[in-house]
């Protein structure tokens, strides 16, 4: 019974209803900007900008973030969660520096390591030196207390020296690339990690992290790591998340339709002229939307056929549209028709 009641009628223009459902909420979001005093230090882009980001299928979200949870046993242990956090948080040479001096002419640089920062990330001077010498075989390293002297083996142009030095300072010492920051948060007595920056594949390789307990808001990462079905679920989830943060509700079926439409081609496509709308079958519908001349010229050039099956093209030429009452046709059996004729 319940299923029957919620069944959608034949010819119902679900796309338009979805568009209206999302459109109404977006206008509300513009009018009422929601400010929440952040307790956690993570920055999440929310509201309309995030929604547009999802629908446009931007390759990189403005604020990529990951959430890593653990099974019950591990999550209640703060120390082990923190250990994972230190493992994934990206540490660069520059973030361990108290200061540095470089002499580009002589090809030398002195890196003054910050002891506090080193202990915080549990990194030793030796380890830093190891990594640098491994990555840059062209330089000679020597150690004096907490400072490292770097010297180029061969005389080089100043420009090349500078490039090397800049690269040394940007060299990653530990953690996962792209995870700019990681914070341990608590949900009741269970700890979890939220990060700013996202690298799904990198984080998965870290011990203690399982793929069941990891989430990122970057749908392309999910697409690449888990495939299109997971990406569909990510789009769905992210979209509902936007409305949940704004404290409005929308039927999940609308988000599902959007997610399906964006992913049915096997990859994530944007809504708009470079994605879905640009792939419409009808020449007139595309021309009515954007870049009119381009579509007409191409249609003429490749001798396209418009079968007039959509809504927009039928409105343009003035025919009944093919949804709702315009979709059903009346049929009559031949013998009934004869009967009616006979009665007349």
């Amino acid at each position: 019974m319940e299923i029957k009641k919620n069944e959608i009628a034949y010819g119902e223009p679900v796309g338009v209803v979805t568009a209206q459902s999302i459109g109404e909420r977006s206008t509300q979001m513009v009018l009422r900007t929601f400010h929440s005093a952040g307790i956690t230090s993570e920055v999440v882009s929310a509201g309309l900008p995030r929604l547009i980001e999802i629908l446009d299928a931007r390759k990189k979200p403005k604020h990529p973030t990951m959430t890593i949870t653990f099974d019950r046993k591990m999550a209640s242990d703060y120390e082990s969660v923190k250990e994972v956090k230190t493992k994934i948080e990206e540490v660069k040479v520059s973030s361990l520096l108290g200061g540095f001096e470089e002499n580009l002419k002589a090809g030398t640089m002195v890196l003054d390591m910050d002891k506090e920062a080193m202990t915080m990330h549990s990194i030793t001077v030796r380890k830093v030196m190891e990594i640098i010498s491994h990555r840059f075989p062209d330089v000679e390293l020597s150690n004096e207390g907490s400072s490292i002297s770097v010297r180029c083996r061969k005389r080089k142009e100043i420009k090349a020296v500078r490039t090397i030095f800049v690269n040394i300072r940007a060299e990653m010492i530990s953690g996962v690339e792209g995870i700019e920051k990681a914070v341990v948060n608590a949900d009741g007595d269970l700890f979890y990690i939220s990060t700013s920056g996202s690298n799904l594949k990198g984080v998965l390789e870290v011990g203690g992290v399982t793929q069941e307990n990891i989430y990122t808001n970057d749908m392309f990462e999910i697409l690449n790591a888990f495939g299109v079905e997971a990406a569909r679920a990510a789009i769905l989830n992210e979209m509902m998340q936007v409305f949940a943060i704004e404290d409005t509700k929308m039927n999940v079926k609308h988000a599902m339709l959007i997610a399906d439409a964006m992913t049915y081609a096997g990859t994530i496509r944007s809504i708009g002229r470079h994605g879905l709308a640009g792939d419409k079958e009808s020449v007139f519908a595309r021309a009515a939307y954007e870049e009119t001349i381009k579509h007409f010229v191409n249609a003429a050039f490749f001798s396209e056929t418009d079968r007039l099956r959509g809504v927009a093209e039928n409105i343009i030429i003035g025919r009944q549209i093919t949804v709702g009452t315009g979709r059903v046709k009346l049929m009559i059996k031949n013998k009934d028709l004869e009967k009616i004729k006979a009665e007349d």
Partner: protein, 610 residues
């Protein structure tokens, strides 16, 4: 530039003229002489401590404001002078001459310490404000009790004042304004301000005192609508006249031809028949006091033909001309008020005809008070059905209480109370900004009301006009000065079923002056699509718009035409004998296909049997 000698620089009208040792004392000296009348009162002096400079200004174009001088903790404008001023023995200029009131410019204001009220004077005080209301300009001072209203409401209130109908000019009868309004019975407001009287605005009143009850009426006054009393309307409440001027000119054309104001003769092109010109006088212009309706010709005019070819085609000698008369615009009617014939500087004759029409308040007309409380008339109710008090007072207007709390226009409420006291006392009450405190006003008005047997809070016991039963709640009631604003139904109402269409697309025109249609906009269209209402959509998009029948060739798919001589459709590309089908499409689509053709893109149409 550093000052080495520690001298104070003196500037006169911006020019360096001297240096003095003690600038402050020097400035004080000038001030003293000015108050004594030794030097002109138009001289202002300022000592600027930061720069150690004295600026003396006597040039034109400085904005100055009057202050009462305070000396030794005492206002120089004492009780004695006050009495003399009240008796009109002395005037304001006397006080200025005697140095009791002085005008200060912006620079000198930096040197003084002024207080608002006499009680606030301290040791350091040098000046006293003449009145707190002086801080406002003319327009702000016209508002009553503005200090009780929300700040944001004031600009809106002035906006309404601009739209009010009133007595715009005493010589309205001999004016030829393009559009103007005249309120028939303007009244002085029961509460006004000093500035209002000083500006003589009571002689140009632009509103009427409506008896207002803050009450609902069956939902006819919800969300800013108001209910008004039919009997009050019949007695002339809010009644006004609308004047509109039509004008036309006898133009001269190259070749010695010119227009002529005349009753067109039947030989003229576009002659509309004798009946159409029946309202015109023998000079071709409509007679004064003639009743005219829309479409009536009010200025008869003939013009020479538009193209010279026409003249040669029909042979020279015959002076052909066409009818170019002025008609009353669609939806307008009235009486001819005034006709003027004169000449322009180019010595061509021009005619101006003023049409006057009576504007009786009706549903949808806009009214508003001086506190940005505007609304449209939602119902006009017969007096019998309106609520009434035990004294038989029936309100002119019912205002919904829901419009008051959100907007915080307490001035409106205070005006009702004050105006009620004003009516009882028979004296117009003062509502000058910041003249008295709210509690003071309420107590004063309350005492007046109580003495006359009214409730001191301004509430009245009302009886339902329909049943005669007493309302269980008492209703706040009092007079409010209302404007009748110039947005009126009669000037805006327009309907269309069929009418003019655009030439290019054959879709209906847009806007009232072209008696256009109402557009079904994009989002409304989406709503119809979303409902699946395909036939409604087709009706709006095709049937009521630019439906057209075109012939499509079965062979080439291009558009053909119907040859009415041979009585058969023809395809120009496939020649005679081609078979064509008729299809109903939007004319705009046909234009689109034609334009694509002009770009060498042919869209072939293949028809399927349906």
């Amino acid at each position: 530039m550093t000052k080495e000698n520690n001298l104070c620089t003196v500037f006169f009208d911006g020019k360096h003229i001297a240096d003095v040792k003690d600038g402050k004392a020097f400035a004080e000296e000038i001030r003293k002489s000015r108050r004594k009348g030794l030097i002109s009162g138009e001289v202002n002096v300022a000592y600027i401590k930061r720069l150690n400079e004295v600026h003396v200004n006597a040039d034109k174009g400085r904005v100055r404001k009057p202050y009462i001088v305070v000396e030794d903790r005492k206002s120089k404008f004492d009780a004695d002078l006050k009495e003399k001023l009240m008796k009109k023995e002395i005037d304001f200029n006397y006080l200025v001459r005697r140095g009791i009131i002085e005008y200060l410019d912006v620079e000198e204001e930096e040197n003084i310490l002024a207080v608002m009220r006499e009680e606030e004077i301290t040791e350091q005080t040098t000046h006293l404000e003449v009145h707190p209301a002086i801080m406002f300009g003319l327009i702000a001072n016209i508002s009553v009790f503005p200090e009780f209203n929300s700040v944001g409401k004031h600009p809106l209130a002035w906006q309404l004042m601009k739209q009010a109908q009133g007595l715009p000019a005493m010589n309205f009868q001999s004016r030829f304004n393009a559009r103007s309004f005249l309120l028939h019975y303007p009244q002085k407001p029961l509460i006004d301000s000093v500035t209002y009287r000083a500006a003589n605005l009571e002689k140009h009143a632009n509103g009427q005192n409506f008896i207002v009850a803050v009450s609902t009426y069956l939902g006819y006054n919800m969300s800013d609508a108001v209910v008004i009393n039919r009997a009050a309307v019949d007695r002339g409440l809010g009644r006004s006249t609308f004047f509109k001027t039509y004008s036309d000119e006898e133009r001269r054309y190259p070749g010695g031809q010119q227009d002529r104001f005349i009753i067109p003769s039947p030989t003229v092109d576009g002659y509309e028949g004798e009946q159409a010109y029946s309202k015109l006088g023998e000079d071709g212009i409509v007679e004064e006091e003639m009743e005219v309706n829309d479409g009536d010709i009010i200025i008869g005019k003939t013009s020479p033909p538009r193209f010279l070819e026409e003249q040669t085609a029909f042979g020279a000698g015959i002076d052909r001309s066409r009818d170019n008369s002025t008609k009353l615009k669609a939806g307008e009617s009235g009486t001819v008020d005034n006709v003027m014939i004169t000449e322009t500087s180019g010595a061509t004759k021009i005619v101006k005809v003023v049409i006057r029409s009576n504007m009786i308040p009706e549903l949808g007309d806009k009214v508003g008070s001086r506190h940005a409380q505007k609304g449209v008339i939602g119902a006009i109710i017969p007096q019998e059905d309106m609520p009434f008090t035990k004294d038989g007072i029936v309100p002119d207007l019912l205002l919904s209480p829901m419009g008051l709390p959100n907007r915080m226009t307490f001035g409106h409420i205070l005006e009702m109370l004050g105006a009620k006291a004003s009516v009882i006392k028979g004296v117009i009450q003062d509502g000058t900004p910041f003249s008295r405190k709210g509690t003071e006003l309420i107590n004063y008005y309350g005492d007046v009301l109580e003495a006359a047997g009214f409730d001191r809070n301004g509430n009245d016991v009302l009886y339902d006009g329909k049943t005669g039963k007493k309302f269980s709640a008492s209703v706040f009631m009092g007079p409010v000065y209302y404007y009748r604003l110039h947005q009126m139904t009669k000037l805006k109402l327009q309907v269309r079923s069929r009418g003019p269409v655009q030439i290019l697309t054959r879709q209906p025109t847009e806007g009232k002056p072209r008696s256009g249609g109402i557009r079904l906009e994009e989002m409304a269209r989406d709503a119809l699509v979303g409902h699946g209402a395909s036939l409604v959509l087709k009706d709006r998009m095709l049937e009521q718009s630019d439906k057209d029948t075109v012939w499509i060739c079965r062979e080439c798919g291009d558009m053909g035409y119907f040859d009415h001589i041979k009585n058969m459709p023809v395809c120009p590309t496939c020649g005679p004998g081609s078979k064509l089908d008729s299809v109903e499409i939007s004319y705009a689509f046909k234009v689109l296909l034609d334009e694509l053709k002009s770009l060498h893109m042919l869209a072939r149409i293949k028809l399927k049997n349906e």
